[in-house]
C-alpha cells in the first residue's frame, strides 16, 4: 500500500525498538557502580527501567512496522533526540553538580551521544560525581560514535530491510558503501572495526600504565578514554583532559584520534590486509595532508612563541613540546574530537587562527568525526579547479572524479547545497547566541560566540575563548542558548537534512 502521509506509528514503533535496545547499555554503569559500591546504582537501574518501558510502549504502537523512505528521517531524527533525552535521566536523578538541572543534563547527554564533547559540568571530579556517572558520560560518546542507528541495524534483525535507508539518513554523506550484500553485515563490519580499534587502544593505554610510563592512566581511565577517543568525542573524566597524562600518553592519543577521523570502511580493508585501498583513497590523502600541513604550521607558530605552561614550562623554543601540543591539538580539532592537552585558549592569535581553520575541516565520510567533512572540501576544491580550467577551455567536458570514479553532477550540487546550508546555519547561530547573550546581559567575546556556534554544529566541543575554551565550560550560557546548542549538536550530528526535512510542510503532507 502506498502511503500519502508519513506513517508516524510505524516510525515511533521503530524509535521505541531502538530506545529499548539502547536501555541495555545502562548495564555498563550498573556494573561499575557495583564494582565501586556506589549509591548511583539505583539511578542507573531506574533509568534503564524507565527507558525500556517507554521504548517497549512506543513499540506497541505498531507491532509490524513497515517503514519507507519518509519514515527513515523520522526514525533517525527522533531516535537521536529520545536517546539523548533518556540519556540525561541519570544526571537529573543523581542530582549532583550543575548537570542536575534538566536543561544542563540534556545538554550533557546530547553532547555525549553526538560526540560533541562540550560540557556543562562545572566540577569534573570524583568528589562531585560518582565513577559510574562519569563513565556513563564517556559511554554515551562511544555509543554515539559509530552511530546508534548503525548499531541498531547491526543487532536488530527487524531493521534488516530498511536498514540501508536508516543508515543513509544517519550519515548522509555521499553514500553508504555497502561492503557486503546484507546491510546488517555492513553495519556489523563497521562496528567490529570500531570495537577492534577501541580494544587495541585501551590495551595500549593500560600497557603504558603498567610499564610505568603513564602514572595516571589506570584501568578506569584507560577504558574511559577508550570510550571517547575513537568516537572523536572528547569527554574526559579528568578536568584537565589529556593534559593530566604523561607526554607518552599524549603522543599515543594522536594516532588514534587521527585514525578515528578516517573512513572506517578503509580500516576494515586494512584489517583484511589491504593497505593499498587506504593509501590510494583521495579523501584519506587530503585528510592526512591537511592534518600534517596544519600541524607543521602550528608547530612553527608555537615554536616561535613565548608560550609557557605552569606544568611543563616553556613551549616556545622547545621542539618536542611545540610539536606535541601542535600535533595533538590539530588532530583533535580537525576531526572534531575535542580533547585538549593544554589550554589552547592561551595560544597566540596566529596559532588560534590555525585551530579555527581546522574546525571547519571535519573528519572523513564514514568516520566518527563531525563537521563539514573532508570529502566535501575535496569535491569543492576539484570543482574550483574545473571552473578555472573551463575559463580557459570553455568547451571542455570535465567530470569530477573521486578515487578515479566519476561523481554524479547531482551529488556535486548536493555537496554545494549542504556546505552552503552548513555555513548559513553557522552564521545564524553566531547571531542568535550573540543576541541571546545580550538579552540576559551575559558578557561574552566574539570569539566565544563564533566558536560556540561551530563547536556545537560541528560536534567539536571545546571552542576558542575564555568561556567555551577547553578549560572553560558552556554552563554559563543562558538556558535558551543551551537549548539552541542542543539543537545544533543534534542537526550537526545528523548532517542537517534529516532534521530539517522534518520541519518542512511537504514532509508531513504528501
Amino acid at each position: 500500500m502506498r502511503r500519502l502521509h508519513v506513517d508516524w506509528r510505524a516510525g515511533s514503533s521503530l524509535v521505541g525498538t531502538i530506545l529499548a535496545a539502547v536501555s541495555l547499555s545502562f548495564v555498563v554503569p550498573i556494573v561499575v557502580a557495583l564494582v565501586y559500591g556506589e549509591t548511583d546504582l539505583w539511578v542507573f537501574v531506574a533509568s534503564a527501567i524507565l527507558t525500556a518501558v517507554v521504548g517497549l510502549a512506543l513499540r506497541r504502537l505498531d507491532p509490524d512496522p513497515d517503514p519507507g523512505a519518509r519514515e527513515a528521517f523520522f526514525v533517525v531524527a527522533m531516535s537521536w533526540l529520545l536517546v539523548a533525552v533518556f540519556g540525561a535521566v541519570p544526571y537529573v536523578l543523581a542530582g549532583n553538580g550543575s548537570v542536575a538541572h534538566p536543561v544542563n543534563a540534556l545538554f550533557e547527554s546530547m553532547s555525549g551521544f553526538t560526540t560533541t564533547g562540550a560540557t556543562v559540568m562545572e566540577d569534573i571530579s570524583f568528589d562531585t560525581h560518582s565513577r559510574s556517572m562519569l563513565l556513563w558520560r564517556q559511554l554515551t560518546q562511544w555509543l554515539g560514535g559509530m552511530g546508534i542507528i548503525v548499531l541498531a541495524v547491526a543487532i536488530l534483525s527487524q531493521l534488516a530491510v530498511g536498514g540501508a535507508q536508516l543508515m543513509e539518513a544517519e550519515t548522509p554523506g555521499p553514500g553508504v558503501s555497502k561492503l557486503t550484500p546484507h546491510i546488517a553485515e555492513t553495519a556489523r563490519v563497521l562496528w567490529i572495526a570500531y570495537v577492534g580499534l577501541t580494544v587495541l587502544y585501551i590495551a595500549l593505554l593500560y600497557a603504558a600504565h603498567l610499564l610505568g610510563y603513564a602514572p595516571n592512566m589506570d584501568l578506569y581511565n584507560a577504558i574511559a578514554h577508550g570510550f571517547t577517543t575513537l568516537p572523536t568525542g572528547g569527554f574526559s573524566p579528568e578536568a584537565r583532559s589529556i593534559e593530566a597524562f604523561s607526554p607518552l600518553v599524549q603522543w599515543l592519543v594522536v594516532p588514534f584520534m587521527f585514525a578515528a577521523g578516517v573512513n572506517f570502511v578503509l580500516w576494515w580493508h586494512v584489517i583484511s590486509g589491504d593497505w593499498r585501498t587506504l593509501l590510494r583513497d583521495n579523501e584519506f590523502r587530503l585528510y592526512l595532508g591537511v592534518v600534517t600541513g596544519l600541524s607543521i604550521v602550528a608547530t612553527v607558530v608555537l615554536f616561535l612563541s613565548t608560550l609557557e605552561t605552569p606544568e611543563t614550562g616553556q613551549i616556545g623554543g622547545n621542539l618536542e613540546r611545540s610539536a606535541r601540543y601542535a600535533t595533538f591539538q590539530i588532530a583533535s580539532v580537525t576531526n572534531s574530537t575535542g580533547y585538549a592537552n593544554m589550554d589552547f585558549d592561551a595560544w597566540s592569535g596566529p596559532a588560534k587562527a590555525v585551530l579555527l581553520f581546522a574546525m571547519f575541516v571535519g573528519g572523513s565520510t564514514g568516520s566518527t568525526g563531525g563537521g563539514i567533512k573532508v570529502l566535501r572540501w575535496l569535491v569543492i576544491l576539484k570543482t574550483f579547479r574545473r571552473e578555472l580550467f573551463t575559463a580557459i577551455h570553455p568547451d571542455a567536458v570535465r567530470p569530477v572524479r573521486m578515487n578515479g570514479r566519476v561523481l554524479d553532477e547531482e551529488a556535486v550540487r548536493g555537496i554545494y547545497a549542504f556546505t552552503l546550508l552548513y555555513l548559513v546555519i553557522f552564521f545564524v547561530g553566531v547571531a542568535l547566541f550573540a543576541i541571546d547573550a545580550a538579552r540576559v546581559g551575559f558578557e561574552i567575546e566574539l570569539l566565544d560566540v563564533i566558536s560556540a556556534s561551530i563547536a556545537t554544529l560541528g560536534n567539536i566541543g571545546p571552542g576558542l575563548g575564555t568561556v567555551t575554551g577547553p578549560m572553560g565550560g558552556y554552563v554559563d550560557f543562558p538556558t535558551s542558548s543551551k537549548l539552541l546548542m542542543v539543537c545544533f549538536m543534534w542537526i550537526g550530528r545528523l548532517e542537517i537534512f534529516p532534521v530539517l526535512v522534518l520541519l518542512t510542510r511537504a514532509y508531513w503532507q504528501r
Binding site: H393, P394, D395, A396, V397, P399
Partner: protein, 444 residues
C-alpha cells in the same frame, strides 16, 4: 585448406579475395544479393544462410574445414558462430569483435566463447594510429620479432636528402634495410642501383632506433616531439585511440560534438581533455589552438567528414593529419589531396586474420599499399629453403621480389648481409612482392 568465412561485409570480402586462389573458400551471408554477386565476382563458394545455425554450417562443410572466420558486423553473432562450430568440429575459429571488453574477457581465458583467436577491429585500428603517430612522416609502421624489428613506409619529399640517391648511396644507416619502393602504382624491389625518386614511398626494415634516425634525417618532417595530439570524433575508434595514447603516457585532446557522448568519453578517459564542439567551427579551432597540434587524427563516422576536417587542419597549419578511411577506394585519393596517412580498419583486421591462413603459420603479416606487397615474419624450421647457404645464394634461388629485411636469433637482432647464414629457429622478416607471394610461401 578449406576456409569458411561467415559474413561478406568489407572484411569478409577482403579476406575471401586474399584467399581465393590458394584455398577452398566458402562464404556464408544472409543477404541473397550479396551471395549472388559473390558467386560471380570471386572464385569462392557463396552460400546464403545464417552462420549461427548448424545446418548452414554443415551445408558449408564445416566438418572438413580447418578454419572458420566469423566477421559479421555483430559481435554476438560472431561469438555464437564460433561456439556453434566448436560443437561439431575442432576447426580453428577466428571472431572479429568491435567491443574491446569482449577481447579482454577472451584474453583472460583463452578459447572462451569457443573462439581460438579474437580480432578487435577498432582496437587494431587505434593501435595502428598510435604506431604511425609515433614516427614522423611515416605512412605505415609495424613491429616484428617482439619489438626488435621495425618496418616503416615513408613518403619521400623532393627536399629529402635521400631523394635522387641510389639505394647504395643512401645505405649509410646501421642495421637498416631498404626493402622496396612504391612509385605511383608500381612496386620496385630495392637493389643497390635503384634510385630513390621524389614522391616515392620507401619501405625500410631495421632496428627501431635506426628507423627513427632515418625518419628524422631523410624525411623533412618537423622533428619536434609528439605532445599535442588532437583526436576528432568520439567514435569507438576515436575512443580506443585516445585510450591507446593515454596508456602510453600521453594526454590527447578529443573533440566530440554530441554532449552525451562527450560526457561519456570524459568519464571514461581520465587523462584526455574532452571538448564538446563542432570540429569544423573555425573559431573554436583557433580558440583551442588546434593549429599548433603535432598531429590530428580524424575519426569521425564518415570518410568525407574526415577528409574535410583533415583539410581544415592542414590549412590551419597542423603538422600531420591521420584519417580513418573506411572505403579503400577513397584512401588513395584522399592521401593525394591532403591527408598524410589514411588508416583503414578493414585492412588492419584482414592482416591479423590472413596470417592464420598461411600454411606455414606466419608470426606476423603486414600488407602494404592494399596488399601489393607484404612484410611477413616467420620462424625458420629444419626443412626451410632458406637454410644452408648464404642469403645471397638462397635469395637467388627464390623468385624475384623478395628482400630479407631482418633476422632475430635467440632474442637478438642480426642485420642480414649477403654472407649471413640462416639457422633453424631464426625469426626472419621478409619483404615480398604480392605477385610472387604464393611461390615464396611454398618455398620457405
Amino acid at each position: 585448406m578449406r576456409v569458411i568465412v561467415v559474413g561478406a561485409g568489407e572484411v569478409g570480402r577482403a579476406i575471401a579475395t586474399n584467399l581465393e586462389q590458394s584455398h577452398d573458400v566458402v562464404v556464408i551471408d544472409r543477404n541473397e544479393e550479396t551471395v549472388e554477386e559473390l558467386t560471380y565476382s570471386l572464385d569462392v563458394l557463396a552460400l546464403r544462410g545464417d552462420g549461427t545455425e548448424l545446418e548452414t554450417l554443415r551445408e558449408a562443410g564445416v566438418e572438413q574445414t580447418d578454419l572458420v572466420i566469423a566477421c559479421t558486423d555483430s559481435d554476438e553473432t560472431n561469438l555464437v558462430v564460433c561456439g556453434s562450430v566448436k560443437t561439431v568440429t575442432d576447426a580453428f575459429t577466428i571472431a572479429r569483435v568491435r567491443r574491446r571488453t569482449l577481447l579482454e574477457t577472451w584474453e583472460g581465458a583463452q578459447s572462451a566463447f569457443g573462439v581460438d583467436f579474437m580480432v578487435c577491429t577498432d582496437l587494431l585500428t587505434a593501435q595502428a594510429i598510435f604506431r604511425i603517430c609515433g614516427l614522423p612522416a611515416a605512412q605505415d609502421v609495424d613491429m616484428f620479432a617482439g619489438g626488435l624489428v621495425r618496418m616503416a613506409e615513408f613518403h619521400i619529399r623532393p627536399e629529402s636528402p635521400v631523394a635522387n640517391e641510389s639505394i647504395q648511396e643512401a645505405d649509410r644507416y646501421d642495421s637498416l634495410t631498404f626493402a622496396g619502393i612504391f612509385r605511383d602504382d608500381e612496386l620496385i624491389v630495392a637493389t643497390g642501383e635503384t634510385v630513390i625518386q621524389p614522391d616515392d614511398r620507401l619501405v625500410v626494415i631495421g632496428s627501431p632506433d635506426s628507423v627513427a634516425e632515418f625518419a628524422a634525417d631523410a624525411t623533412t618532417a618537423p622533428d619536434d616531439d609528439l605532445d599535442e595530439i588532437v583526436i576528432i570524433g568520439g567514435s569507438e575508434i576515436g575512443y580506443q585511440a585516445a585510450l591507446e595514447f593515454e596508456s602510453h603516457g600521453y594526454s590527447p585532446r578529443l573533440i566530440e560534438q554530441d554532449p552525451d557522448r562527450a560526457r561519456e568519453l570524459a568519464e571514461a578517459l581520465p587523462d584526455t581533455l574532452v571538448l564538446e564542439s563542432d570540429a569544423t567551427d573555425l573559431e573554436f579551432l583557433a580558440r583551442e589552438h588546434v593549429d599548433e597540434a603535432d598531429v590530428i587524427v580524424a575519426a569521425l563516422d564518415s570518410d568525407e567528414k574526415n577528409l574535410l576536417v583533415s583539410l581544415l587542419g592542414r590549412r590551419l597549419g597542423v603538422d600531420r593529419t591521420i584519417a580513418v578511411i573506411e572505403n579503400l577506394e577513397y584512401a588513395d585519393l584522399f592521401q593525394r589531396v591532403g591527408i598524410d596517412v589514411a588508416v583503414n580498419p578493414r585492412e588492419e583486421t584482414a592482416e591479423e586474420i590472413v596470417r592464420f591462413t598461411r600454411t606455414r603459420r606466419a608470426e606476423k603479416v603486414v600488407m602494404l599499399e592494399h596488399d601489393r606487397a607484404e612484410v611477413i615474419e616467420f620462424e625458420v624450421d629444419a626443412d626451410s629453403a632458406l637454410l644452408g647457404d648464404s642469403i645471397e645464394e638462397v635469395v637467388a634461388e627464390l623468385p624475384d621480389g623478395v628482400v630479407v629485411g631482418a633476422i632475430s636469433r635467440g632474442g637478438k637482432r642480426i642485420t642480414p648481409r649477403g654472407t649471413t647464414v640462416v639457422q633453424p629457429g631464426d625469426h626472419v622478416v621478409l619483404f615480398v612482392d604480392a605477385r610472387v607471394l604464393e611461390e615464396v610461401l611454398e618455398a620457405i
